[in-house]
């Protein structure tokens, strides 16, 4: 028998039933719930007079539309200024209370962005199927989970049946060998991958990230990479189990101890791709070719090394591509051929499920230490991904570094990644952002997003424009 990929193993171990019509019934181990994509699912349950299949599978928290402002957060759900958002968060609380679903409420220790919270609490563990009504659920694949986003109808389906009707995806392996240079982070690696395969390159595939670059990467770094699999079109991104995975899980709140721990570890160590397994699609990059990356356009595939320039119309091979480029340049207010590091920034956002973990906070603080935000920059938001990240960062004094540099240290949530709360860009403003999408209007109507790593974003805050963090020596303007 041919060997199996990690994805094959995860799929096989969750197969409840293979149907004759080509679909399969797949069992879901962990269901993560937030306020935005769940209310209609709970309402659907009630309308059909159904109950959740299992309670101890679900874990909930509000993250998408809550305020990151301390004064407003201290006032709790009742004090939320936006009435529509308040009702949505209250509805999550009410649904979790009604059914007895474990929720980390708005200001409770444990609350955070769903994809930061799940792994850090040990609610997601290797070998699990993990779903959430959010496309960045692939993040959890860094722990060798089969994790992907679902729509609200499927949230209801999982609540009611603990299963999904699914069709097996194709296997893709993205291999990056070599050793990345100083100043090149997991964010740069994944942006380079998206630049290579395109925003639809992973459609219909589950991606396994393999090679020395990922082996050398921390678990938090692997989360950053898996998080953005969806930006390459793949619902699923994952990395095989190694000792780092085991070490990361040990001691977390929901992770087993004693004999169960040893049993679990023995199983988790089998969660790797067999040497003779075949992939439908193989892609490879070399670490030496990856410089710090910055997006210049309105799709994550519109990305370039910070040392490069914005593409020109003349370089485009087809009329359709010229039209697409022209539209992006018009929206972004850029000229073809303009140096990436000539782009001035109005605001900076360091946060999101991609880059708001403690290592991200440390990387940004390292650049911010002893420096000041450029006078031309209106706002620098530092938004930790969870209450636990916030507490850890404060214990290390990182908050002081940010505040001393003139940056805003905020409360945990999704914030300006998708601008559902008050944190947003004004029309025409350029933002150095550590989030995952540079779509038109994503961070605010008319806002212009440049995706990059936390260190690059912090350097942009100090310089007032996009700069190469590897050669950046600037201080206050």
């Amino acid at each position: 028998m041919a060997g199996r990929t990690l994805y094959d193993k995860l799929w096989d171990s969750h197969l409840v039933k293979q149907n004759s019509d080509g679909s399969s019934l797949i069992y879901i181990d962990r269901h993560v719930i937030h306020e935005v994509t769940s209310p209609q699912a709970f309402e659907g349950l009630r309308m059909a007079d159904r109950m959740p299949w299992r309670l101890d599978t679900n874990i909930a928290t509000p993250d998408h539309n809550i305020s990151t402002d301390k004064a407003e957060r201290d006032a709790g759900v009742a004090g939320m200024a936006d009435e529509v958002s308040r009702i949505q968060v209250q509805t999550l609380d009410d649904n979790c209370d009604l059914y007895g679903i474990k929720e980390f409420k708005i200001n409770e220790m444990g609350q955070g962005i769903v994809h930061v919270m799940g792994p850090e609490l040990g609610a997601t563990m290797p070998g699990m199927t993990v779903v959430c009504g959010d496309s960045h659920t692939a993040t959890h694949g860094a722990l060798a989970c089969l994790a992907h986003g679902i729509g609200t109808s499927e949230v209801e389906h999982v609540l009611a049946t603990q299963c999904l009707v699914a069709k097996k995806m194709k296997n893709m392996r993205v291999t990056v060998d070599g050793t990345v240079g100083a100043g090149v982070t997991p964010k740069d690696v994944v942006l380079a991958i998206i630049g290579k395969i395109g925003t639809a390159g992973g459609n219909e595939h589950a991606i396994e990230f393999a090679g020395s670059v990922f082996r050398d990467m921390s678990i938090e770094g692997r989360m950053t990479v898996c998080n953005m699999a969806i930006e390459a079109g793949a619902r699923v991104g994952m990395v095989a189990v190694d000792q780092k995975t085991i070490d990361y899980c040990e001691g977390r709140q929901f992770v087993p101890v004693g004999e169960l721990w040893h049993q679990a570890v023995e199983y988790w160590n089998t969660l790797t791709t067999d040497a003779d397994a075949a992939f439908d699609t193989e892609v490879s990059l070399h670490a030496d070719d990856i410089a710090p990356q910055v997006t210049w356009g309105t799709s994550p595939e519109m990305v370039a090394p910070v040392t490069a320039s914005v593409p020109t119309l003349e370089e485009q091979p087809s009329e359709e591509q010229r039209k697409g480029l022209q539209r992006a340049l018009d929206y972004m207010g850029l000229e073809g051929g303009q140096a990436i590091d000539s782009i001035a920034v109005d605001r900076v956002f360091i946060g999101s499920c991609t880059n708001s973990r403690i290592e991200d906070m440390r990387a940004a603080a390292e650049v911010a230490r002893g420096r000041s935000v450029a006078g031309s920059v209106k706002q620098v938001l530092i938004v930790p991904g969870s209450q636990m990240v916030k507490a850890q960062a404060e214990a290390e004094g990182l908050d002081k570094i940010f505040i001393d540099a003139g940056m805003d240290w905020r409360e945990p949530g999704c914030s300006m990644c998708l601008a559902m709360n008050a944190d947003k860009l004004g029309a025409g403003e350029h933002c150095a952002s550590t989030s995952n999408r540079n779509f038109e209007g994503r961070q605010g109507n008319g806002g212009r997003t440049h995706l990059m790593s936390p260190a690059m974003a912090a350097a942009a805050a100090v310089a007032g424009r996009i700069v190469d963090v590897r050669t950046f020596t600037g201080g206050a303007e």
């Binding site: 059909a48 986003g149 929901f254 087993p256 994503r442």
Partner: protein, 215 residues
């Protein structure tokens, strides 16, 4: 669930690749706890000149005269003709809800993002996949013919033009069945309750740490 068998209707264009779900329904409308009412805010940032607010009346907002779906000739369009990788980005089911609420019954494009594609079937919205060449032909015909209509037939899996083209499309059998019959997928899955329970019992014996930790 809403069924789909066949549909004939006016075609409206969305002539750009990689249309993302933020474009289809911007984030501020995701604060709603309802499934309905998203139609007036479909493509909100492209469609109107001002910034849309949830719950606000859209009837007096300034519309963007350059946005094709605002052209009088596309008023009442019920089939959206689009380009590759339509619906990329987030998992928000609000995207198909908005398209359906606006009045679209089908989308035709060369490819879709996976989650969006899956979400369409839950809402009686048929995402048809044709080749880029076929989609080009439809765009060309639509451009020159006011009141351009197409017929989409799910049982025969075809798109038929009045000029005589018949384009076949593929889709998974289980998705076709659910859509044709408007089946309640949860009800169908629950018919397998015994198998699910047996799987759980087996799994709990093998991997007990997956169960019971979260209380």
């Amino acid at each position: 669930m809403k069924a789909f068998t066949s549909h004939r209707g006016l075609v409206g264009p969305m002539d750009r690749a990689n249309v993302d779900t933020d474009m289809i329904i911007p984030k501020q409308f995701l604060k709603s706890i309802k499934r309905s009412g998203f139609g007036p805010n479909l493509f909100d940032e492209l469609r109107y000149m001002d910034e849309g607010q949830p719950g606000a009346d859209c009837s007096n907002r300034p519309v963007n005269p350059d946005f094709p779906l605002n052209f009088p000739r596309f008023e009442g369009a019920s089939i959206l003709l689009a380009r590759k990788n339509f619906g990329c980005g987030s998992s928000r089911e609000h995207a198909p809800w908005a398209l359906e609420d606006y009045g679209f019954n089908a989308v035709i494009a060369p490819s879709y993002a996976d989650i969006f594609y899956n979400n369409c079937f839950k809402n009686g919205l048929l995402p048809v996949i044709l080749t880029e060449e076929q989609v080009d032909i439809l765009f060309t015909e639509m451009d020159v013919q006011e009141g351009y209509q197409l017929s989409v037939d799910l049982p025969s899996q075809t798109v038929t033009t009045d000029s005589g083209h018949v384009f076949s499309f593929e889709l998974d059998e289980f998705r076709k069945d659910c859509l044709l019959n408007g089946l309640d997928e949860i009800g169908l899955t629950l018919q397998n309750a015994d198998e699910i329970k047996a799987y759980e019992a087996d799994r709990a014996a093998q991997h007990p740490w997956v169960f019971g930790a979260i209380k």
